[in-house]
Symmetry: C2
Subunit: 343 residues, 2 copies
């Protein structure tokens, strides 16, 4: 591990993206998303995914400065083509559009196609909650998940998340997919040498397995069988269909993306049906009542908030050496200034 200052990290993120000819405004947005994702302290779906972004921008498989193209709109709903840019840009764009639609209609929905991996839902919904909106973000990815008792991979895992403002100082915030385990969570189990429950999925031969590595090469199953599967199907319709994107395993004929990604952002004014203060008091009351029933109960968002507060308090974060070495190598190739370590 090596310690990196948060301000240094943010400036470095903007710098390397600028060195790749990304427009300043876009570089700032992406840096903000990566910082928000990283401050959750999860160790995956954050800065650890950033090298793949740099590679994609370098080899031309990602559009550096995407030109968003409106596809359709009606009332509070919009769909856009995100021009095969970074998922971080497409989702920040979709969430901003959803928030603008919600200002007018109370609720707003923006679906984008031709996006890419978005890291996690948390950065975007967290941003919206800071603007005083309750927000959700859904992701359609490649079909990598099975259906109940099926080894065939039929649908995406529906990575998704939400944030609802409260009066507790932090939003109720949730970020998960509908498989029992994301690849990130499986990787964490592998690193710790921990088995997984045998109902989480099958190995590559279609047999139930407790080995996270075997599972990651096989078929992950949806939470609660047909329940998680039904939710993933809902997500696919809300993202792939509404965005005019590719459904399930459909090839991308517009941009030629190998694994076409769609996203849908939904935002709601917290002051649509009551004052924003009342809304936040009521979500806060919910949290208080759950924790009164179960003392010490972990409410979604508490962990992220605690990590964020701790890291911002110390002004730095510890990152793994192999990540930093990857980043150094990429900086050398671009070239761009290397990320400075504090120790």
């Amino acid at each position: 591990m090596a310690r990196v200052g948060l301000n240094d990290l943010r400036a470095w993120l903007e710098g390397i993206l600028r060195a790749l000819n990304m427009e300043a405004e876009n570089a700032k947005i992406v840096a903000d998303v990566v910082m928000r994702a990283t401050l959750r302290g999860v160790g995956h779906h954050d800065i650890y995914d950033f090298p793949s972004r740099i590679r994609g921008l370098m080899d031309g498989s990602l559009t550096v400065n995407p030109a968003y193209k409106p596809l359709a709109s009606f009332g509070a709903m919009e769909s856009w083509d995100a021009d095969n840019g970074l998922g971080e840009l497409a989702c920040a764009f979709a969430m901003r559009r959803a928030v603008e639609a919600a200002r007018v209609h109370g609720i707003g929905l923006c679906a984008v196609r031709a996006s890419n991996h978005y890291m996690a839902a948390a950065p975007y919904v967290e941003w919206a909650s800071e603007q005083g909106f309750a927000a959700m973000l859904l992701c359609k990815g490649a079909p990598t998940m099975g259906a109940p008792d099926r080894v065939e991979k039929v649908v995406g895992t529906l990575p998704m998340g939400y944030a609802f403002p409260t009066d507790r100082g932090w939003p109720v915030l949730f970020d998960a997919c509908m498989a029992y385990a994301s690849f990130g969570a499986l990787k964490a189990r592998m690193d710790r040498g921990e088995p997984v429950p045998d109902y989480w999925g099958f190995d590559a031969q279609g047999r139930p397995t407790t080995d996270p590595q075997a599972l990651s090469k096989g078929t992950r199953l949806p939470i609660g069988g047909h329940k998680g599967f039904g939710l993933a199907v809902l997500g696919e319709m809300l993202t792939a269909v509404l965005s005019h994107g590719c459904v399930i395993d459909e090839p991308d004929l517009v941009h030629g993306q190998a694994s076409p990604t769609s996203h849908t952002a939904i935002a709601m004014r917290t002051d649509a049906l009551m004052s924003a203060r009342s809304f936040e008091a009521r979500t806060g009351e919910m949290v208080a009542r759950m924790q009164a029933r179960a003392p010490g109960l972990h409410v979604p968002g508490q962990g992220s908030y605690a990590s964020r507060q701790r890291l911002i308090g110390q002004g730095s974060i510890d990152l793994k050496e192999d990540l930093l070495e990857q980043l150094d190598t990429l900086c050398g190739r671009i070239p761009a200034p290397a990320l400075t370590r504090q120790s």
Copy 2:
């Protein structure tokens, strides 16, 4: 089992509700909901729940002809008080309002408080899909579900459902809650003498159990641990908070309901971002692609549709004797004409 004609059943439902002084329009709505729920062929959350409705209407714990009161509205969002009427009426009302808002704004949301048990989400979302809308319905009930590794009951199970029109002749339709098992599903396991997986929840002493009866008296757990829990919390905010209803275990000071229920209906125009025909072709394409990857795959809604077609085809349904005896007894007490058996 005794066979009952579907037309007889519908007419009888309307008749008994009319005999209880329910307005004709309301009686027709409730009968339609019960018929739709029953045609799914599940054997719970349908006509088998109807005796409790009759009892509630007879003993005054339910308002026979509720007066809906608008609480707030902004753009595409509304909240209403449902006056402690039948959940079947409140949800049909909420779904109609959401559909009307969606006509104007593309998407519409209506939250109602002071509702009651709604049987299932399927009847309402199915109705909306027949009007050409994609619809969702969420339910806040009493806190009967645990959180990951917690035996305390902290949140409702979030019964919910959706229906999205397709070009296959039937909508993709889903109806479930975020616990591994609804009470109905546990009852079915008890009747069949089947055990449940030990990760579905705890018995009344807080021990993992495989006995569906012991589980039904203990604490049911959310699907996928923190994932299902996070979704249930989302549902509670979208229903209880937006409807100005009671959160978690909050007492109902307005109507004095023992177990205050809120619902939220969300509807979307299928022709908001493309033609309705394109929308249905795209959801149909999704189904086709999933089934091409996994031949014979059961897609949400197929089972309900098959049951509905079969029962409508034969024009009748077999109902259990003990249900019919309950109904006869209630008819005698009101009094109302008894339900006629075909055999």
